[in-house]
């Protein structure tokens, strides 16, 4: 399976911030609009999967993650997001579970 690789630290910021652009720098909304949404559209067209690498940053607020991955599920459906997104988070293993919850919360889809 081919992957579209996204590294938050290298492609966006080492210090991801709040939920919305108006709340401060490097928000989840900005990450969604500039990187993740485009990559997801591309993945849908090409049949590739997306690997999001969360390591190498200072840490994440819950709102950033929810806005990013919950937002993706709100736009496309939780089922599609769960099919196409793979999370890499060796430094904070619990983030995978949290992100799954945010995605599932949109459509009550369980994995």
């Amino acid at each position: 399976m081919e992957y579209i690789n996204i590294s938050v630290a290298n492609q966006f910021s080492k210090t991801p911030g709040p939920r919305l652009i108006k709340e401060g720098e490097f928000s989840g909304e900005l990450f969604f609009n500039t990187i993740l949404d485009q990559a997801f559209s591309e993945a849908l067209q090409s049949g590739k999967k997306i690997k999001v690498d969360l390591d190498g940053t200072a840490g994440y607020g819950t709102s950033f993650l929810e806005q990013t991955f919950g937002g993706l599920a709100r736009k496309y459906s939780a089922k599609k997001v769960l099919e196409l997104i793979e999370i890499k988070s060796d430094e904070e293993d619990y983030l995978k579970k949290d992100i799954n919850e945010y995605i599932n919360a949109e459509n009550d889809v369980q994995i």
Partner: protein
């Protein structure tokens, strides 16, 4: 020439007016006498100081000026300052008798002082007589701020890397946590270490202040962060304050058109709690939010901070907001006899907390 008015009614008016003026004169004379008596035996410097601040409202700080361990008395003092701020009256803070002080108290007093300066209201004070207290206050650069102009409307910063670092802003500043993490980990472990839980706490708190601290508008209130390095004990403590509405007030006072309107009352009605201390406990555990909104993607901030504590990424988390004081680690949630108009958090980062090799 006009004839003098000899009507009895007018004579009575004159007599009454004379009596009133005489009474006022007597009171003023007595006041001057009292002041003179109180100044007898004082040095010329003390007399000059007195004259200088005669028109200020004098507010005496509590002997135990401790936000964490003498919460109610300290809140009373801070509320008095807040009262005079609202009335736009000049204030002289008497710190002479303070025997003990913590960084929480300093940070809150600093935030109030900046508000006075921002509104161009005079704010002054004297030094504590106790040398240890005086040193602590001086190391926080509190007194320096009294005489310096405010540089920016949106950001104030006081920095002294070895002891205390205080910063204020209105929006979320993710880079701040990154910088603080580097400095704090060097103090604790002697090298840069990653403390991702620390960054989460910063982000959640800054975002809460931005979204919920003001009733009227988002991003209206400042948050204050004070970082205190205890080099000897290899421990760094943090104080985060927003002098806004506080957790419970912000939930009670949302405007009618807001989605959060009547939120607190809804909680109380649905789950049968009347007590804010119990509500805070349930909010931190993430139980109440789901009960009321049924939407898991909102209100993750406080439970997110609780999770950080559970994962041993921080220690000794304390929260004071409105009429609740919580020692979260020991699960002690108490009601206060008075109310702090804002949200205060204290936590520590120490050697036993989770940390990882620096990879940023």
């Amino acid at each position: 020439m006009r004839k003098p008015d000899k009507r009895p009614k007018y004579s009575l008016f004159l007599w009454r007016r004379h009596k009133k003026i005489e009474k006022k004169r007597k009171i003023a004379k007595e006041r001057v006498k009292t002041i003179r008596r109180s100044l007898q035996g004082k040095s010329s410097f003390q007399i000059l100081e007195f004259r200088k601040y005669q028109r200020y409202e004098h507010v005496v700080a509590p002997k135990k000026f401790l936000f964490l361990n003498n919460t109610q008395e300290t809140i009373n003092f801070i509320n008095k300052l807040g009262y005079f701020l609202k009335k736009r009256k000049s204030v002289f803070v008497d710190l002479n008798l303070v025997e003990d002080i913590d960084y929480g108290a300093i940070t809150v007093m600093l935030s109030v002082m900046i508000e006075f300066k921002r509104l161009k209201i005079n704010f002054n004070g004297n030094f504590p007589l106790n040398r240890l207290v005086r040193d602590k206050l001086q190391s926080s650069q509190f007194f320096d701020r009294l005489n310096k102009p405010i540089i920016s409307e949106s950001e104030y910063s006081i920095q002294k890397t070895d002891q205390i670092f205080t910063k204020a802003n209105k929006v979320v500043v993710p880079l701040l946590g990154y910088n603080v993490m580097q400095e704090a980990s060097k103090t604790i472990w002697g090298e840069k270490r990653m403390c991702k839980g620390l960054q989460r706490v910063f982000l959640e708190l800054m975002q809460n202040t931005h979204n919920h601290a003001s009733f009227e508008q988002e991003g209206e209130m400042f948050w204050w962060l004070s970082v205190n390095h205890d080099v000897e004990n290899k421990k760094v403590s943090f104080v985060f304050v927003d002098y806004g509405l506080g957790i419970f007030e912000s939930l009670s006072n949302k405007p009618a058109e807001s989605k959060w309107s009547g939120y607190l009352q809804k909680i109380k009605t649905r789950v049968g709690y009347e007590n804010n201390a119990e509500i805070l406990h349930k909010l931190l555990d993430g139980e109440l939010h789901l009960t009321v909104t049924g939407k898991s993607f909102r209100g993750k901030g406080l439970p997110g901070i609780r999770e950080v504590l559970k994962r041993n990424q921080i220690s000794n988390l304390r929260i004071i907001s409105n009429n609740v004081s919580a020692d979260v680690f020991n699960a002690q949630y108490n009601l206060l006899g008075n109310k702090f108009n804002g949200t205060f958090l204290y936590w520590e980062l120490c050697q036993s907390n989770e940390n990882k090799i620096w990879n940023i």
